[in-house]
């Protein structure tokens, strides 16, 4: 079962990377990043079972805390971006990449 769990971990990380690469909706970008973190968590838990030690569980717990902190900041950033651009399209958030003066 541990081998299958690690295969599932790789599949989830790959689906997360595919979503982050191919979608332009910023919510789905964020949820893909969360999916990558979940796949990494599953890998840690499976490796902890494989080695018979509890360290992987602790690291998975710490990753969940980091994901919670990331959720707060990312969603606040989405609220701010939606207020200023009225869109969820990542192609419109190009203020740092543009050469023109910002028109706010």
């Amino acid at each position: 079962m541990i081998h299958n769990a690690l295969v599932l971990c790789v599949i989830l990380i790959s689906i997360g990377i595919i979503g982050a690469l191919s979608r332009r909706n910023i919510f789905i970008l964020y949820m893909s990043i969360e999916l990558i973190l979940n796949g990494i968590n599953l890998g840690f838990v499976a490796a902890s079972k494989l080695h018979g030690q509890g360290d992987g569980h602790v690291i998975a717990l710490l990753i969940m805390a980091i994901a919670a902190a990331e959720a707060a900041l990312f969603l606040a950033m989405i609220v701010m971006l939606f207020r200023s651009r009225h869109s969820l399209d990542t192609k419109k958030f190009t203020l740092l990449a543009s050469k023109e003066r910002p028109h706010v």
């Binding site: 299958n4 989830l12 191919s22 919510f27 969360e34 838990v45 902890s48 018979g52 360290d55 569980h57």
Partner: protein, 173 residues
């Protein structure tokens, strides 16, 4: 029995995540993300970590996804606010072809796993996880408390009402 349960949960997790990256509406993709998270919680329970099973349900499916759903409803998203993605399926196909060699490499590396060690009696319950956390990982624990405080302050500052930014017409000298 547990293998059958594992395959059902793994299929649910994969279907939920594929649904998450292919839905147009963010609300639907958040709901199918919940399916993935709950299936992953069941897999944690099958792998013998009862503490992470509870934490996964409480923090991920309870707190983070409900925060996402709250923000989606709070923003009052109309269809014209969503990005137009006419070639979404082609992008998903192309990026999955780009990812395929790496995941094949990782999965073929899994054939060289070491032998499974026997697990101790109290494995993955709250007492052993807490003892490991406060004996060996005390410094990362404290660092994460500071990180949570900083992200709390940062979220409050980012989401507050926007003050009008004054941009003068004169060029800076």
């Amino acid at each position: 029995m547990s293998d059958t349960l594992f395959f059902i949960l793994a299929a649910l997790a994969i279907v939920g995540s594929i649904g998450m990256i292919s839905m147009m509406q963010p609300m639907f993709s958040a709901i199918s993300f919940i399916i993935t998270l709950l299936a992953l919680a069941g897999i944690y329970a099958l792998l013998g970590s009862s503490f992470l099973f509870a934490i996964q349900i409480v923090i991920y499916a309870g707190a983070i996804v409900s925060l996402i759903l709250f923000i989606i409803m709070f923003l009052n998203i109309k269809p014209e606010n969503l990005p137009q993605e006419p070639s979404k399926n082609r992008f998903i196909l192309l990026s999955s072809f780009a990812i395929l060699p790496f995941s094949y490499l990782l999965i073929s590396m899994l054939n060289f796993l070491p032998q499974q060690q026997p697990t101790p009696e109290a494995f993955g319950d709250i007492k052993s996880v807490g003892l490991t956390l406060f004996n060996d990982y005390l410094l990362p624990f404290e660092a994460i408390s500071i990180l949570l405080l900083i992200s709390l302050i940062g979220a409050v500052i980012l989401a507050q009402k926007e003050r009008p930014i004054e941009i003068s017409d004169k060029e800076p000298k």
